[in-house]
């Protein structure tokens, strides 16, 4: 049996953990730079606040309904997410963290009353973390994901839905549109609709060979998974990323080349840390800068740069990225966003033997090791070209305290 455990409106729920008085209140969370709404609490959804709505457009409406508005507090969300995962680990021998708010659990070898177990998981995560979740269970990951969807939609299931193997779910599946299925996006759904496949049930009973011929092996697997046949296994060791991107919109528009270079240096550092964490090296990077798309002289451009040798040295990557920016830069424009992508990545160990060590000195490797170690201990070593507290940094004016990760910001409890 598989389960998918998914937090309800995760970001909004995180904001309610240390603000119990907000738990039944409308709460929304804004994206980077307070751009648009990315999470809504249940009470906020009840007010019919649409998802992904630009904040400035809906601000008067939010004020009128006394909606509590927060900037994204990634420090808090990451910590609470890891707490949920560590509680879940007690319930299953195998676990795959699928995203910040979703985990797959694999219960092979376990035989219990699944619904009771699901309720127990839900209750424990509430008790320990104060995070509301839904649990979906099924014979395959696709079915578990579908069960989770059903659990979220149907109030009478109390947040837990088990698609038992023996039972017939066709009546339910006939009512669910085909795009509810994991991996079936809107575009694929449209193509399926043309073949008169509208519901989950329609796809489940579709001719597998026919599906493979028309849509490829991935969807054929989905059909098999809907029929209880395991094709997608649990992935407890997430594979290394093939590409690493670090891009951000600026808090304020940037005009000077030097400021752009500062920003790109910081993004390059962030990407390089991720690169080293997965023990990889990069050979090619892309750099891009863009103005707002909605102005008359809108400009955006990308440059691809081959590095002199495969490396994971932040300094080499920064130098290339800065060069790239100066090639792209056009004076007199107000830039809104910049980014770097490490697009050609190799495993460091495989490269090391032949030519890697020849070019990236052991000294550089050691230095990066030390930098990462110090930053891990929150000693904050950074590369001078990134600047200290620059103005273009992300705007998060409505951020809640980092309740669990900063001793200066732990919750204050009034005892008088």
């Amino acid at each position: 049996m598989y389960a998918l455990v998914d937090a309800n409106s995760f970001y909004a729920s995180c904001e309610q953990v240390f603000r119990p008085e907000l738990r039944d209140q409308p709460v929304v969370v804004l994206s980077n730079n307070d751009g648009c709404i990315v999470a809504r609490s249940r009470a906020a959804k009840a007010l019919k606040i649409p998802d992904l709505q630009p904040y400035f457009k809906i601000k008067p409406f939010l004020a009128k309904h006394q909606v509590h508005v927060f900037s994204s507090n990634y420090e808090l969300y990451a910590d609470l997410s890891s707490r949920v995962v560590s509680v879940l680990e007690e319930f299953a021998p195998q676990l795959e963290v699928y995203s910040i708010d979703e985990s797959f659990l694999c219960f092979d070898g376990l035989s219990v009353d699944w619904r009771a177990y699901g309720l127990q998981i839900k209750q424990r995560i509430w008790r320990d973390v104060r995070m509301p979740v839904c649990v979906g269970m099924g014979q395959t990951k696709t079915l578990a994901k579908l069960a989770n969807h059903i659990a979220k939609k149907s109030a009478k299931l109390k947040g837990v839905c088990v698609l038992h193997a023996g039972n017939n779910w066709d009546a339910v599946f006939k009512k669910l549109p085909v795009e509810t299925i994991w991996g079936v996006g809107r575009r694929l759904a449209k193509r399926l609709n043309r073949l008169h496949i509208y519901s989950v049930y329609d796809l489940k009973v579709a001719n597998a060979k026919h599906i493979r011929h028309q849509f490829g092996v991935t969807l054929e697997r989905t059909v098999a998974e809907l029929n209880g046949e395991r094709c997608v296994n649990i992935d407890t060791q997430p594979s290394n990323k093939k590409q690493i991107y670090s891009t951000r919109s600026f808090g304020q528009k940037v005009q000077q080349l030097s400021d752009l270079q500062q920003a790109i240096s910081q993004y390059a550092s962030t990407a390089a840390v991720k690169l080293r964490k997965q023990n990889s090296v990069v050979k090619t990077i892309v750099v891009f800068i863009q103005t707002s798309r909605f102005i008359d002289d809108a400009y955006s451009n990308t440059i691809t740069i081959a590095l002199p040798h495969a490396t994971n040295d932040t300094r080499t990557i920064i130098a290339a990225a800065k060069q790239g920016v100066s090639r792209l830069y056009r004076p007199g424009l107000a830039y809104a966003k910049a980014g770097i992508g490490l697009v050609e990545i190799d495993d460091a160990t495989s490269v090391q033997l032949n030519f890697f060590s020849q070019y990236q000195s052991t000294k550089s490797l050691k230095l990066m090791e030390v930098v990462d170690k110090l930053n891990c201990q929150q000693k904050q070593v950074f590369f001078a070209s990134s600047g200290i507290n620059p103005f273009w940094r992300m705007r998060r004016q409505l951020k809640s305290p980092s309740y669990t990760t900063d001793i200066q910001e732990i919750p204050m409890i009034k005892i008088s």
Binding site: P20, R23, R83, V84, V87, R130, I407, I413, K414
Partner: protein, 144 residues
């Protein structure tokens, strides 16, 4: 009497205090070296379930008679069952406060005569956010 080391929490990382240490000179091995395994990790003793534990700062004087003073750091474990007499973080009008749980008489008590007991409904556990398992105070420089 409570012993407080605030730095442990500050780093939120393991601080190892060796029980035994000796500088080893070449030649003669120290007989104590075989014993240098055990280290005291204060986090481990104070935090039984990290996923369910959070820190909070006391603000006020209603718990002073059990030794929780203004500015003290409280360790709160949500997974501990609140028993009779437990020091708990309770919700009063949705807001977190620290009280002593008197299940028998269905009340929340303060540890300060100036604050009268507060009556609670039957489902008391619904109003409890966690149990205060420890409180810590910084003694080296007194800030009050």
């Amino acid at each position: 009497m409570k012993v407080t080391i605030l730095e442990v929490i500050k780093n939120s990382q393991t601080i190892d205090i060796p029980l035994y240490s000796s500088s080893v000179q070449a030649g003669f091995p120290s007989p104590a070296d075989d014993y240098i395994e055990a280290k005291i990790d204060l986090n481990k003793h104070i935090i039984k379930r990290p996923a369910a534990t959070f820190f909070a700062r006391a603000n006020g004087s209603s718990m002073m008679q059990i030794g929780i003073l203004d500015g003290d750091l409280m360790v709160v474990d949500r997974s501990v069952k609140p028993e009779q007499g437990a020091v708990v973080i309770a919700l009063i009008d949705g807001e977190m406060t620290c009280k002593i749980l008197d299940k028998h008489r269905k009340r929340l008590l303060s540890a300060n005569d100036q604050f009268p007991p507060i009556a609670i409904a039957d489902e008391a556990e619904l109003f409890i956010e966690g149990v205060v398992t420890h409180s810590l105070r910084y003694h080296y420089v007194r800030i009050s």
